[in-house]
Each structure stands twice: as structure tokens, then as C-alpha cells.
Symmetry: C2
Subunit: 133 residues, 2 copies
Amino acid sequence: MKYYSISEAAAKFDIPESTIRYYEKKGLLPLIERDAAGRRLFSEDSMTLLKVVIYLKNTHMPIKKIKQYVDWVVEGDHTTQLRLDMMKEHKKAVLAEISLMETSLHEIDLKIARYTNRIQAEKQKNNGKEEAR
Amino acid sequence: MKYYSISEAAAKFDIPESTIRYYEKKGLLPLIERDAAGRRLFSEDSMTLLKVVIYLKNTHMPIKKIKQYVDWVVEGDHTTQLRLDMMKEHKKAVLAEISLMETSLHEIDLKIARYTNRIQAEKQKNNGKEEAR
DNA sequence: ATACGACTTAAACCATGGTTTAAGTCAACA
DNA sequence: TGTTGACTTAAACCATGGTTTAAGTCGTAT
């Protein structure tokens, strides 16, 4: 099985190494192995967990909550129901946030339409001037 | 024309008064009138601008950029093109963010499915035990 | 007249999520 | 053997986006 260095892991997920170290310090990446010199070795499992952390972060789950989730993963199968409930709740929150963004985006679209019209009208006016010359 | 007090404005948009004061201090709410006692009076125009600020905030535009936008609004019609460009660019960023959230949400859905299956399987096992009694 | 509630300000405080720095260790290559 | 590059740590630092506090001013109802 392949192991990844921190620079490889950082490259693979396109995030800074410092962020990975920060996540580990916050308890989001438990069980990371080390080589004889103390350097991190990311197993496939560690990479998978990091990927999950990044998905949760992308959907704006706070770090403390991600930590709770990771703790449950480490605890094992008897926490499956807790994790399921958390993921379902999180999904709801994400859908609500997307919905809010889409509503707001609709208002922004109206602004774009109004500004576009205004600029068109301005162009017409200038054409008029030109033709009158 | 109706004027709104800060408490009315806060209630109308369901945000704390302190946030409105903070936005004003950051330059996001220029031209707010005051009564003889120095209290803020929000005109319809001010309320509309506040609404726009909230939409931009909902779509994660940073305060400094919202301030640039508001400055252009105050400057008048000759900034229409600048505002249009900004809104178009912002729309792109918002769509990208929504897209990232949706991709991540899909992974979360996979987790939900796996946890649901695991719990179903666990139930089956327990039923088996019961029937064997 | 006074007391209450709504408002004002400036400044301090806070949480979140990292990023940067400084000092050091180690492996490998010239 | 020494120097270079990749790594390590703890701690300091930073930006963002507010929230809270303290002290004071008004308008109004009793």
C-alpha cells in the first residue's frame, strides 16, 4: 500500500501543508502514521478521511463538528446511527444554504438585467447623438 | 414616506441592530438620515440598499467588496458598467461555490446511503437472533 | 419631576480558520 | 563531510465578521 508524504497529500487535494497540520492539531486527522524521522505518512485510509474532512469543510461544517464526526468514526461501528443523524442534519443545512444563495442570486440577476438595460439605453442615446450630427 | 428606526430595520431583515451599526461603520450604509436626537432614520432607499447588502452578504461577498459596490452606487450612473462587471463576476463565483457545495453534498449523500444500509443490515441480524430464540 | 426604554458612541472583546515564523532535525546527494 | 531540501514543532500572528460593554443622551408616560 502506498503512503503519501504531507507534500504529496497537499498537492493531491490542492491545499497548503499548513492546513493539513492545522487539521491534525485540531483532531480532524487521527491515526496518522510517522516514519522513523517523525515525518507524517498518509495511508489510503488517512487520505480518505482527509477527503471527507475537505467535503465537510466545503459545505461549511464547523471544525468542532467535523471533530465530533471524526471522533465517532474512530469510536467504531456503534456510532453509525449518530453519524447518520449528523449527516442527515448537515444535508438539510447545506440545502438550506444553497437555497438562500440561489434566492439571493436571483436578486443579483435582476441587478444585472437592470444595469444591462441601462447601458443599452445609454448606447441608444449616444447613437441618436451621432445620427443627429 | 415612511422612515424606519434601527430596531424596525433590524426586525424587518431579522438581523441584530449591532450588525446594522457595524455595516454603517464599514461604509456599507451611507447617507442614513438622523432625527434631531441623532437616531438613525432609514428611508425606503436606505432599506433597499440594506437589502442589497444582505443579498451580497448571503452570497459571501466580502465586506470590502460590498463597500466598493456601495461606493460606486453613491458615485452615480457613470459607474454602471463597473457595477455590472462586478455583479457578473460575482455571479460566476457564486455559481462556482454552489457547484462545489453540490459536488460535496453528493459525497455526503453516499455516506448517508452507506450508513443507512449498515443500520438496516444490523437490524436484519438482530431479527435473525430474535427468530432463532 | 422622574424613571423607563430606546437609542447613541467608542472601544474592547470574541470566534473561526487558518498562515507565518523561528528554530531545529534528518536523509540524501555532491 | 557538508550542504541542501523536506520535513518537524510551538507559538505568534493575521483577517474576517461581527458582538458586547460601558457610559451617556433623549422622549415619553406616570
